[in-house]
Amino acid sequence: MKSTTIESLPPWLEFFTFPSVNVLHVLLGCIILGVSAGLLGSFAFLRKRSLLGDALSHAALPGVCMAFMLTGTKNPAVILCGAVLSCWVGALAIEWIVKYTRCKEDSALGMVLSVFFGLGILLLTHIQKSGQAAQSGLDKFLFGQAASLVERDLYILGGLGLFLCFVVMLAFKEFKIVSFDPDFAQAVGLPVRLVEFSLATLIVLAVCIGLQAVGVVLMAAMLVTPAAAARYWTNNLSRMLWLATLFGGLSGAIGAYVSYLSVKMPTGPWMVVAVTSIFIGSFLFAPQRGALARARRHRLFRQKTAKENILRTTYKFAEQAGRWDTPVSMSELLQHREMSMAQLRKTISRLTRAGFMDEAHAGLFYLTAAGKEEAERVTRLHRLWELYLMTKLEIAPDHVHDDAEEIEHILTPDLERRLLQELEGELTDPHGQQIPGGPTATAEGSPSK
């Protein structure tokens, strides 16, 4: 005992030398499972049927039991056939319910799940009661046991996994069109029913690959979570598929690794925890669609809006006073803008830092030269839009302000040029105020009258 512990590497390193062939089997099995589930789960996810995997993996149980009852063997190929058949019947039942009854999709999934699973449990208990000694191990399909994977299982799983990847590669275009827009697919003459049917069959196969390793419930996770995580990173389907397979495979490997380190630890749940961690990371930190990035964009836009509003209001005061550097007090600004004192203070300090405003005396602020230019730009957009709404869309002058209030923060320079061209150098807005910077821009942009 002692000599082995001295010679051997620490367990966390030893794993990578694959001390026994069994370790390698488990690792490969988990990776195959993760990859195929991630790949097919993406299509279920895009078709807004994320819980299809959950329903189908439960629907496999009666098939497993029936295969055993009929043949009396636990040959994985036979059991797998039973599982595939019964999953497949479940998939058809879901289609049938959605198509021919008034029940909704979520109900169809839930009913197939619970009734099929109930049937499976009923058969399982029946087998147990009837005392067939060989039944022990059937219930590992409920929770899965990756450690029980042997070489023979691996060939079946590996073959199926390769087959799935191959079919998806061949029929990528068809799957893509049907997943995104079945009506369009129908219109361009694709055999939509056939494609949907084969997609469902592939998902069934992917579910059955996973059952033995991670069990019924956790298989559902391997179908949903990699796809949901991948979706945060890209808007491109093929990239999403690559990412989902990567996430699936990676978490498969992590699950195998953890369960190697601690014998008591089950592989399946750790796979799920790994893939969910990847999901949480993606949900929070993905650059475009992630929650933090979106919250940041949202905040920046709110700040920009607040700044532009204050600039425009200050400009309006200055305009009325006749001097563009007329100082304005905070209370005056507050009368015209719905914001709290704290918000106003923050916004003004941001504007001061950006060099757009400066403090004259305590609590009195005026526009700097740069601030004047910026304020003129926003005011110009606001008034141009009001004018455009009134002259081109014939909206009453007292209805245009609110709309302009929102759009002034969004209009791009390009749109501004177009507006100037459309309006052909009008100088005053519907409320009789001058459009700042309008005439010069018009003089450059369009021929004089």
Binding site: K48, V217, A221, V224, P269, M271
Partner: protein, 304 residues
């Protein structure tokens, strides 16, 4: 033949069926059918944690832990779909499988200390225990489950009676509900709370799979048979109780798990309603189509 145990089993089954059918109708109408499944799996870590923290198998603590997890599932699903822009079914899938995985890990980690079997928690004592009525519900044990499911059943009935109007408006038209001053969020979470309570309280006696089935199969059966919410609730309760009785008979005949058999029987009832329902059944619709076609085909025959 009718022993006391049979009575207890039928009573528990009927109480569970009634509770589930009542809240289930609203789940079905709000297209949240999978929520029962989600909650019934997600409560596992709550039960284990309650056991680890208090060290007792006191049903009260477990109920609290499980309820907390049930609400957490509803809440996380909400957060993910709102702030993560995720489809709500995917959000649900991610959440409950994650919680379930954590639960299984906890069970494996403390397997020596916890006298909790995952099978036992999720499937009642059905999978493992040989189906002996006395062992399934021992004499001193049975009444407690009856009490528990009975109290939950009464709570559910009161909830649906008192909140009938609000639940109805929220289920059919959330926008209208908001505009007439009903807090949609509050009633959503109240409903989630009662679903969690029902799911959790029914575990011990019947197991998760029956709860999931009873939550949605009888309400969907009723949905095929009527267009009125009040009728739907009553029919769902009736179908639920019939399924419980039928399941018991089936299980006795097949010598299998009672709860599973009840789920299967409810599926049979649904299939019957889907095929032979008077108005929304497949055959009735088919006949209606035929009648509509008839004048045209007669005309076509006349012309030819």
């Amino acid at each position: 033949m009718m022993t006391m145990d049979t009575v207890w089993i039928l009573l528990i089954g009927s109480l569970v069926a009634t509770s589930c059918a009542l809240v289930g109708c609203f789940l079905v109408l709000r297209r949240l059918s999978m929520l029962g499944d989600a909650i019934s799996h997600a409560v596992l870590p709550g039960i284990v944690l309650a056991f680890l923290l208090t060290g007792s198998r006191n049903i009260g603590f477990m109920l609290i832990g499980a309820m907390a997890m049930g609400m957490l599932t509803a809440f996380l699903t909400d957060v993910l779909s709102r702030f993560g822009k995720l489809q709500s079914d995917a959000a649900m899938g991610v959440t409950f499988t994650w919680l379930f995985a954590i639960g299984v890990i906890l069970v494996s980690k403390f397997t020596g200390m916890v006298d909790l079997d995952v099978d036992c928690v999720l499937y009642g004592e059905i999978v493992l225990a040989p189906l002996d009525v006395i062992e399934w519900e021992g004499r001193g044990f049975g009444p407690r489950a009856v009490w528990l499911t009975g109290i939950v059943c009464v709570a559910n009935i009161l909830f649906v009676l008192l909140g009938y109007k609000q639940l109805k408006v929220c289920a059919f038209d959330a926008g209208l509900a908001a505009s007439i001053g009903i807090s949609v969020g509050l009633w959503h979470y109240l409903l989630m709370g009662f679903v969690s309570l029902t799911t959790v309280a029914s575990f011990e006696s019947v197991g998760a799979i029956l709860v999931v089935a009873m939550l949605i199969v009888p309400p969907n059966t009723a949905y095929l048979l009527t267009d009125r919410l009040s009728h739907m609730l009553l029919i769902a309760v009736g179908v639920g109780i019939l399924s419980a009785v039928g399941g018991f008979l089936l299980a006795t005949w097949l010598d299998g798990a009672i709860a599973a058999a009840m789920a299967v029987v409810s599926g049979v009832f649904y299939t019957l309603a889907a095929l032979f329902g008077p108005r929304h059944g497949v055959l009735a619709k088919h006949r209606a189509h035929r009648q509509l076609d008839l004048p045209f085909s007669e005309e076509a025959e006349l012309e030819s």
